[in-house]
């Protein structure tokens, strides 16, 4: 087989915030770095993060500190998080945010000129450093503009389809570049996965075509363990109308700025059910909730700012009870704040500029005048590659993971704002430790048979040409099935059906054909992504079947309550010797006394 070969000390796969931050750190440590982007540089899904970066800078409320952030993250994750990751994250996020400023990021400011922070769901104090509602763009652009001067080799529009191993160790990767369709072989002493999520396994998602579980699957196929795969986050507010925009994210910042959720009867239904573990922190009347959003330190947060898993379920409850909006969602209203703030319409446009434009342009709705219609959308997966908290190394030597495709920090549910901080905290760590590991490694043997085999498999869809089924039809069928059977509300019966349904889908995926040639051929790319989508779908379904309780993003109507027995374990997925997927539980290590004390203090 014919392919280009590249050699780097550290190869980073994925160029969103986590990948860029890892590449910057590794290159600063003096090793050569290659950075593979599935799209063009700077287009990754990080740009879609709107609300902000959670970091206990305490610029707006001086009661905030890492302990509160840690406790909030653990509570949001329903205590099945990797507590060490949650601790490192809470402690290091402020430095990572300040570092962004030193690299040129321009955050909104407080009155005394420091980085401004806003309220967000599940965060006790205003904690999200932000730039209007385009914080993700600011973050990725800052890292991109800093990174391009670091001597990193960037491979744009390149997709990795297999990791290469020498014995137990990962020593490279194999993929193709989109433009000409040529294969590329990367030799590397360490590989960092930073490929993001799996949203395209579902029909309604905020994720773009790229998020097909690539890193999850590459790691799984290389023998690494995945953990917490049952925990998928359905963001409560996606657009639902018109149909073509279904799933596009409506930032939580709308609620942070005072937006309220209402059903068709005009009732603020979020007051109807407040979970016990949040009751003490949640406002019990509308007035108090409003004061909280306006910075009153004595007020408690409105129930719209409860965690995303809970808000999503409440929305589903309203829709199922027939109290939804005309197009099958609920109403999210920010326009009402005009009655409370001077120049209300301008205030809304200033605080939520991209939401204003998004609705105006895509739905003909002026959010300063009328409510939006919203419903849950698949947004994020808490589960991913099982990594060591400090180094981000997976269970396979030489393979690291950071950001959404790694797991642990978020437990059963991620708090808004914790992903942007996660990617810079653990992106940095992954880069640092991958570089350190690479320095200890001598040359490895690249087994070209592994690459040849991957190349042959990748070209099979062309052999079948258009006589095979098209890849999009298989993708749609999978998305429909996962949406219906392994979605927001799950049960044994439906998930068993999904498991059964995966087998014929895999058959169909193995028979898809594509026409045309290898140059920039989206049909071919879609065909190659199917294996990844099927793998993560199976991992999600199998893990979700094992967790016979409801916790965080995982809700089962056959086990609707939390069960303490499941509060001390995580489910791990691994490829068995026979090639079949195995799921087993592992005990969560006991938390050190000082962290327990932090959690007790913050109750």
């Amino acid at each position: 087989m014919d392919y280009q070969t590249h050699e780097h000390d550290v190869l980073v796969i994925g160029a969103g915030g986590a990948g860029l931050r890892a590449a910057i750190e590794a290159s600063a440590a003096g090793v050569s770095v290659g950075l593979v982007c599935k799209s063009l540089l700077g287009k990754a899904h990080t740009v879609m993060a709107e609300g902000g970066i959670a970091a206990a800078l305490a610029n707006v409320d001086d009661r905030d500190n890492w302990k509160v952030h840690f406790a909030d993250t653990m509570r949001g994750g329903q205590y099945v998080n990797n507590w060490r990751m949650a601790e490192l994250h809470a402690k290091e996020a402020p430095d990572r945010v300040r570092e962004l400023e030193a690299w040129g990021a321009v955050f909104d400011r407080t009155k005394d000129g420091r980085i401004l922070q806003r309220n967000f769901g599940g965060h006790r104090y205003p904690r999200l450093a932000h730039v209007g509602d385009r914080t993700g763009l600011e973050l990725i652009r800052t890292l991109q503009d800093h990174g391009i001067h670091q001597g990193i080799d960037v491979h744009m529009e390149c997709t990795i389809i297999q990791l290469l191993k020498d014995g137990d160790r990962v020593v490279g990767a194999f993929g193709y570049e989109r433009e000409r369709g040529r294969f590329k072989l990367f030799k590397a002493k360490a590989v960092v996965l930073a490929t993001g999520g799996i949203g395209r396994a579902y029909k309604i998602t905020s994720n773009s075509w790229e998020y097909t579980g690539d890193g999850h699957t590459l790691a799984y196929d290389a023998g690494a363990e995945l953990v917490d795969m049952e925990f998928v986050q359905f963001h409560p507010t996606g657009m639902i109308w018109p149909p073509s925009v279904q799933g596009i994210l409506v930032t939580e910042a709308v609620r942070g700025e005072g937006g309220v959720l209402k059903n068709k009867e005009g009732r603020r239904f979020m007051f109807d059910e407040i979970p016990d573990n949040y009751r003490a922190q949640t406002a019990d009347n509308e007035e108090e909730g409003w004061r909280y959003t306006q910075g009153d330190k004595a007020a408690r947060r409105p129930p719209e700012l409860l965690t995303r898993d809970h808000v999503s379920r409440c929305i589903v409850r309203e829709i199922k009870a027939g109290r939804g909006s005309p197009h099958g969602g609920v109403f999210l209203d920010i326009s009402w704040i005009k009655a409370r703030v001077p120049n209300g319409a301008d205030h809304i446009k200033k605080k939520l500029p991209s939401m204003y434009h998004q609705f105006k342009q895509l739905a003909d709705i002026d959010i300063t005048q009328e409510p939006m219609e919203v419903g849950p959308t698949t947004h994020y997966i808490m589960g991913g590659v099982r990594v060591d908290a400090d180094t981000q190394m997976s269970t396979v030597p030489g393979l690291f993971a950071a950001g959404e495709c790694a797991a642990g920090i978020n437990g059963a549910n991620r708090l808004g704002g914790n992903s942007l901080s996660d990617i810079i905290v653990f992106g940095k760590r992954a880069g640092e430790y991958a570089a350190q590991y690479a320095k200890t490694q001598a040359g490895a043997n690249i087994d070209t048979r592994q690459a040849d085999q991957a190349a042959r498999r990748a070209l099979e869809p062309f052999e079948r040409s258009t006589s095979g089924e098209g890849p999009y039809q298989v993708q749609y069928a999978l998305q429909d099935m996962m949406q219906d059977l392994v979605g927001i509300v799950r049960n044994e019966n439906e998930m068993q059906r999904a498991l059964v349904g995966l087998a014929p889908l895999r058959e169909r995926a193995n028979r898809v054909g594509v026409g045309g040639h290898r140059e920039y051929n989206p049909g071919w790319h879609a065909a190659l992504d199917l294996h990844n989508l099927l793998t993560v779908s199976e991992a999600i379904t199998r893990s979700a079947l094992e967790r016979r309780e409801s916790r965080g993003g995982h809700f089962r109507d056959d086990y609707p309550t939390k069960d303490a027995r499941f509060g001390t374990i995580n489910f791990v997925v691994r490829k068995g010797r026979d090639g079949q997927m195995e799921v087993f539980s592992v005990a969560i290590p006991e938390m050190p006394a000082e962290l327990k004390q932090v959690i007790d203090e913050m109750q």
């Binding site: 063009l40 740009v47 391009i148 001067h149 773009s208 075509w209 790229e210 342009q361």
Partner: protein
Amino acid sequence: MATATFRIWRGDAQGGRLQDYATEVSEGMVVLDAVHQIQATSANDLAVRWNCKAGKCGSCSAEVNGSPRLMCMTRLNQLDLSQPVTIEPMRAFPPIRDLVTDVSWNFKAKKSIKRFKPRPPDAADGTWRVAQVDVERVQEFRKCIECFLCQDVCHVLRDHQMFDDFIGPRHLVYAAALEMHPLDTEQRARDLKRAHGVGFCNITKCCTKVCPESITITDNAIIPLKERVIDQLYDPVAKLFRMFRS
């Protein structure tokens, strides 16, 4: 359901032609939806770049009925569907395939701009103090999603292909964001004049008109940069002063 015809450029660096595709249209659809529908049903290999589908990543730039647009933000109800809708790639850049063009020059051009260099921190903890009013000017420029539509429409690049002499509106906006950054201390005037060719912009404001982020490119970024170049490099008193110093 209604049907509309989309006349899409198919081809590569060697050449190509417009080809008609009929597809069903429904309420709220954008041009990118139509392209995806055609891709999924009748042309699996139709090449198109896209990511966020929400006007935030700047990947799906193309020329729709001749005007540079993001396909994901162009509603079909803004177009006359009784006629075929023409979709072509950005014409300023070399075609790769179908609607995908080679925009790699932009990444090289950006690298030629001197990076951000902040003044020493204001506070002992390594942080700065900056007022909101002082960041707002720069925040306008930092809204840029790098869709390169401004580059596509700029006649210096599109018609005169002066890619070696002029960095284009996008990168002038980027340079402006650095130059006007309240913390930045780097000098870029000489580069702007020579390597970056700010003088080639003759203020036709085509870039401003097509910016999907509504950045006032010419008035707020390019003209102030031109003024900076003149202030710093053509001020006779300063020139005299420099002569003496050297």
